[in-house]
Symmetry: C2
Subunit: 391 residues, 2 copies
């Protein structure tokens, strides 16, 4: 009989840059180690179709970048445009063509798959890259506020299955993450806003000062003042990064999912909306619900609750979505959340702004009241919601 603990070493790398395919930009090159001496690194690029449309020169810039730096990198196959959005995460039929392209490009474990885009592209290409040869090197170039502030920095990938968000995936560390801030300019208003829900989340869990700053800049962020906004995205990315490399359980082998505050409801609402609700929009709703529940249970003071809801409102999030009417279905998300992590139910909560805690029991009748009140009683929100937001 043998029972031995062992450790596996990973290296996580995060870069902030602007226009990483500018020939003079060294951020990407510096990450590429050749797989064999004196040969350029072999690279297969996958590009979010929508991003390519918004940045019409991006694809040719990538090709030009590779040409100019031919001694350092080589495109193993043509740049592949790939339709992003949640549909990409819907199953094997979407994953298999990516795997085939990795095989056609003859990537080896020391070659690179580069995924450029939002969360769905990063998640799906990431899963394919992690499965092929049991893992080729993945470089994520995150192009949305959400992926830059949160998911792109993490050690997860995944696709949806059996009606459950991210039911299939792998914990593994990407080779590197590049947050290319030059790509944020063309985001839709909803996509722009979405990432800030995750900034609010991490501030609520870990940093009251950061929350106060977001609160004071919420209007500028909502107005897309990029110079006001970028530092928040960077700080959120850095906090997620630090949580992974310095936290105790990056692969979530224990009971706790501290970064998933507001996420039990968020994952369920996304699914209930057939993914019309963006992840960040759903997270904003989930946070609002959970702080209101915490207030109701006397875990959180009323003023703190109001500040959170007010900040989400000021960022432009819609907090009384019609799906909240379906409270039975929504509440089934609690058990799905438990199952996905396993073990006893463990829901991250806040007992003050910047102070996280965990609870192992949700009073569902109380939560139901909160949900219903939330939809019907405008009193929980700082400002009235216009009819236009109730689509």
């Amino acid at each position: 009989m043998s029972d031995v603990e062992f450790t596996v070493k990973f290296r996580h790398r995060l870069r902030f840059t602007h226009n990483c395919f500018d020939p003079a930009n060294g951020a990407l090159l510096e990450l590429l180690e050749p797989s064999q001496e004196n040969t350029p690194a072999s690279v297969q690029v996958f590009l979010d179709e929508n991003l390519a449309r918004c940045h019409p020169n991006l694809q040719s810039n990538i090709e030009r970048f590779a040409d100019i730096h031919a001694g350092r990198m080589k495109l193993a196959g043509q740049v592949i445009c790939i339709k992003g959005g949640e549909e990409l995460k819907s199953g094997w039929s979407q994953l298999e063509p990516i795997l085939k392209l990795l095989d056609r490009a003859r990537l080896c474990r020391h070659s690179y798959a580069i995924a450029i885009g939002g969360g769905a592209v990063l998640d799906t290409v990431g899963l394919a890259a992690s499965l092929f040869h049991r893992g080729v090197r993945l470089i994520r170039i995150a192009s949305t506020t959400l992926s830059q502030a949160d998911s792109g920095v993490g050690v997860k990938n995944g696709i949806n299955a059996f009606g459950k968000k991210n039911a299939l995936g792998i914990f593994t560390c990407p080779w590197a993450v590049i947050n290319d801030e030059g790509l944020l300019s063309t985001l839709s208003e909803e996509d722009w806003r979405s990432g800030f829900a995750e900034v609010v989340k991490i501030a609520l869990l870990k940093d009251a000062g950061l929350f106060a700053e977001i609160e004071s800049r919420a209007d500028q962020i909502a107005q897309r003042n990029i110079e006001d906004a970028i530092p928040f995205i960077r700080q959120s990315a850095q906090m997620h990064f630090d949580h992974i490399v310095h936290g105790e359980d990056p692969f979530e082998l224990r009971h706790s999912r501290p970064l998933d505050f507001g996420h039990w409801a968020a994952h369920k609402l996304e699914k209930m909306s057939d993914f019309k609700l963006r992840h960040g929009e759903a997270v904003a709703l989930g946070i609002a619900l959970d702080v209101t529940y915490a207030k109701r249970m006397a875990l959180l003071q009323e003023e703190a609750c109001q500040r959170v809801v007010g900040c989400l409102n000021a960022l432009g999030f819609t907090l009384n979505h019609p799906l909240l009417r379906e409270s039975d279905e929504l509440l089934s998300g609690l058990e799905e959340f438990r199952e996905h992590l396993g073990g006893p139910l463990t829901v991250p909560m806040v007992r003050d702004i910047g102070a996280m805690t965990e609870i192992h029991d949700i009073d569902t009748s109380m939560m139901r009241e909160v949900i219903e009140q939330f939809f019907f009683d405008r009193g929980v929100m700082n400002k009235p919601v216009s009819a236009g937001q109730l689509s």
Copy 2:
């Protein structure tokens, strides 16, 4: 910019036992931690169909075991019989039903998938269990000499794709591995023999004394003297286990695959034979080729080479398989071996019995000569091969 190394802790567990579903046998129970306090551990069992046929009481014994120990474990779904063999590893169409069963059983990350069988069942159920919820706990109950001596103990799973063995898979640590020696009695002669190729392999790489012992007991092993044979399987399992927990690179992130001696040819030959050749039979061939090449390159003394080939012969392995005629195709396995690991070609070799080394270049014209000589010149073998072995 952040560049930080971090570690992830895993715990590896290995048990040797006899008849682990005997109600009095505590090996399995002791491994099951309840996912929630005061509730039995939730378990989904997958059973190799062929094994179930050879041990007709096994399925009912499992059910009875669960009944008797209902306070400790609960079958989350009925015991699923699953057809083993390489066909199971052929793709998504085989993997998806297993994933669906895990979902139907509502396993959470702290529940258990138990796979009982040979390598293909362990590999495929293992991949499914590692993908579902990004990993539920996997207990492998290895039922063949090969899986007990080698693959079952490892941190790999995988299926075949794009004409390549194990092209898709994950490195991850199973929750536990149980080598149930009561299951070995019904193996076919070929399956019995197969695992000893991996015992020879690890002895050649690491332990000259162990090799001398196998050599002296080869006839008894070939005659299935279980008391002579079992200690070799145990020692091989333990050496593989130690390599994982004490070696430096269990997830093969660097250039070296020290345990894959003889495997560049083995993986290719398996595929070329449409998997009619068992993995262990192919490994025996691969070892014989590589030691003969090593002798030819004056890396290994002739006497050592003859001892290895002699030992494999004495164990009953066929070493002049007709597939060796197709040396061009066989040699393409070298590049596939390189690609699967990545980086510069790194082939494990032996410079003496029990002394491994690595080489980064194979002289293919010399290897071709070795292959051809190997098939046509019986002189490389200690004893003549009967026509019956050339099927």
